[in-house]
Amino acid sequence: MVAHGRQCKIEGSQATARQTAELLRSVISQQRVPYTNQAGALIDAVKAVGEQLIAANPVELAVGNIVRRVLHIIREEDLSLTTAAIGELNLSAVSDDENDDDRDGNTTLSAAAVAAAARSTLRPPSLQTLLEDTPVSAAVPQTSSSGAADKSSRSRKLKHDVIEAVNELIQDIVTCHEQIAEQAVEHIHQNEVILTLGSSRTVSEFLFAAKEKKRSFRVFVAEGAPRYQGHLLAKELVARGLQTTLITDSAVFAMISRVNMVIVGAHAVMANGGVIAPVGMNLVALAAQKHAVPFVVLAGSHKLCPLYPHNPEVLLNELRSPSELLDFGEFSDCMDFGSGSGSPLLHVVNPAFDYVPPKLVSLFITDAGGHNPSYMYRLIADYYSADDLVVQRRAIAGN
């Protein structure tokens, strides 16, 4: 998939996310797990593959997001299995005194203690756990499970549970547009004017859903130079019977005072609530803030990234080919490396993305509902484990 990703560019974060999840699912199902510390083996395998995937395309943040989601799923499933096993152990310990030899090291820690310790490995570091020990993960229940048959059934169960959860994740990714579009009716009201930039499938599904519910509204579409995908969106909207107006990106400031709401898609959402969006979005966000127009961003949960952007314009951006801007034929003498001093005077820069700071965003609509930008860290804490922020194999000695 790495080669595939490099050569024929899977476009769109949803497709990439789905491919990544499916790939990781096959990695997990093919991975042979040892009897002890199965979760660790799975996590290592996923991290190894994940590292390569992320390195192949660092700008496509959805890849990293899905890798981290899968790692979080593995940890969660392992945790729920061990707590279930402890529950069984307790029952068997009470009823069955002959198994004392299995329980040698564990009489000092009650079941509640182990459960509490196991719970705290999964929570992100917090004030509550500040003074607690970091427990030896999963070592306790492993030694005490009785019987080889039991162990192998547990290992199969972990893989089975993880694969089920990954299937749910894939399902979520695929249906994210529908879930977001369901919320359209609450936000788009009668006789409103909506502004959008470029073309986003999430936005078009959102608008179609509102149209289905018999809301009548108008849409201003900014064309989204240099790819002009706004043109395609305008065609789709007209085909559905929506009154559409097409404007250039430079006309946004002129037209924004007639607009009620701006609804746009995103490439990725960072942990501080900032948005990586197609180029030109920052312009629209600033115009919206100046005229007090709500700026609503639609993003599926696979776009939520747990990283903080410390230099997003440079590190999270992609420079595309200048041919999208200029026709080489006309400008061949300006851009010629062979003539004169060897370095042409004309440079063409074509960045693909823009960073919109969180203070310009009014609302995020995800498949989990509508949220404030300052709330995004909560969703991120739910979906990801703190240990997985840097996807690297454990071969590197501790920090």
Partner: protein
């Protein structure tokens, strides 16, 4: 005029001595011994009086030790010296000791936060996990003593998290002498990053001078500014780094006087303000304005005698509201100011 004990200790660490400070400190020391002697924790020990205040004072003399760590070590000593036979008794003794520590210095936020955090830990975990009192007690003592390591590790974690935000060629404005910020800059220098630091003088503590000294030893280019020159130089600054005496529930910080001013200027010029603070400094306070916190006073030596009818504003700290802060670097991770109240709610409610 009274002087906040917290700032007294800071001044002692910095080695800044003025004549009236000396007089104040002597007076305060005799006061402390008197009250300390009266705070006998009754664990049933006849004859030997154990004072948690003395213990605390011993610990906080060390310049590298944070206030909260000293407090928790003192409380650990209380547990060690106590003769309680049940968890409940021990908790009551600890509560008394913690209250006396807090009332001895009402101005120090990290002291209060550290005591509260430890009390919370004791009450929440003890009853659940252990049936045996002695093992619970020894575990509490062990965790309290480990807390010093936690604090030290916290600084390392914060330094690591902030490394990405310091890029080559950047200019950092620093206010006040925070050991955490010092660790951040030290680690950046060790990672061979090229950056330069602008230090405010930090009157009346002159902490900026000390910071400039330390940075010069690390071969980091440093420029000293008087406090009023911050707005003048703000356009060449890429980011502002400050520590915090306390982080309040709204996500704002309480720090040395001048921090609010700098944050306002930075905000108006769109420069990010980063705060480096350990998580045990999160306190359950919600100041609504500058005067809402208990006053912490610090005498200022102007060098010339001031006529007696002229008032002097001697408050040592101010409150910076969360909207002027960009990110908080803590050992719990990189946080936006809105996360602080979440963490506090999880701990206390």
């Amino acid at each position: 005029m009274s002087m906040s004990a917290y700032y007294q200790t800071r001044a002692a660490h910095h080695g800044v001595v003025t004549s009236d400070w000396l007089a104040q400190s002597q007076e305060a020391a005799t006061r402390a011994v008197v009250t300390g002697g009266q705070e006998i924790v009754d664990g049933g020990k006849s004859g030997r009086a154990f004072s948690v205040i003395d213990e605390f004072n011993n610990w906080r003399k060390q310049p590298d030790l944070a206030e909260a760590v000293a407090a928790i070590r003192a409380l650990a000593a209380v547990i060690r010296n106590s003769e309680a036979k049940t968890m409940m008794e021990l908790e009551i003794e600890l509560k008394k000791a913690s209250d006396s520590l807090k009332s001895w210095d009402t101005t120090s936020i990290s002291l209060t936060a550290g005591c509260d955090l430890f009390m919370r830990y004791v009450t929440r975990t003890s009853a659940l996990e252990y049936e045996d009192f002695n093992s619970a007690r020894s575990r509490l003592i062990e965790r309290a003593e480990k807390f010093g390591e936690i604090s030290y590790k916290a600084r390392k974690i914060i330094a690591m998290l902030s490394q990405d935000f310091i890029f080559d060629g950047c200019t950092i404005l620093v206010h006040g002498f925070s050991r955490v910020v010092m660790e951040v800059l030290k680690m950046a220098a060790q990672n061979k990053k090229l950056f330069r630091v602008l230090c405010t003088e930090g009157r009346p503590d002159r902490s900026g001078l000390r910071l400039a000294n330390e940075l010069a030893k690390l071969d980091v280019p440093v420029k000293l500014l008087i406090d009023s020159a911050v707005a003048y130089t703000m356009d060449e600054v890429d980011m502002v780094f400050v520590g915090a005496d306390g982080v309040v529930e709204s996500g704002g910080i309480i720090n040395m006087m001048g921090t609010y001013q700098i944050a306002l200027v930075a905000h108006s010029m769109n420069k990010p303000v980063y705060v480096a603070a350990e998580s045990y400094k999160f306190a359950r306070l919600y100041p609504l304005d500058q005067k809402d916190m208990g006053p912490a006073l610090r005498p200022i030596d102007f060098g010339v005698p001031i006529p007696s009818k002229v008032e002097v504003e001697t408050s040592a700290r101010d409150y910076t509201p969360p909207q002027y802060l960009t990110l908080l670097f803590t050992d719990l991770g990189v946080l936006t100011p809105s996360v602080v109240s979440d963490e506090l709610i999880q701990l206390y409610l």
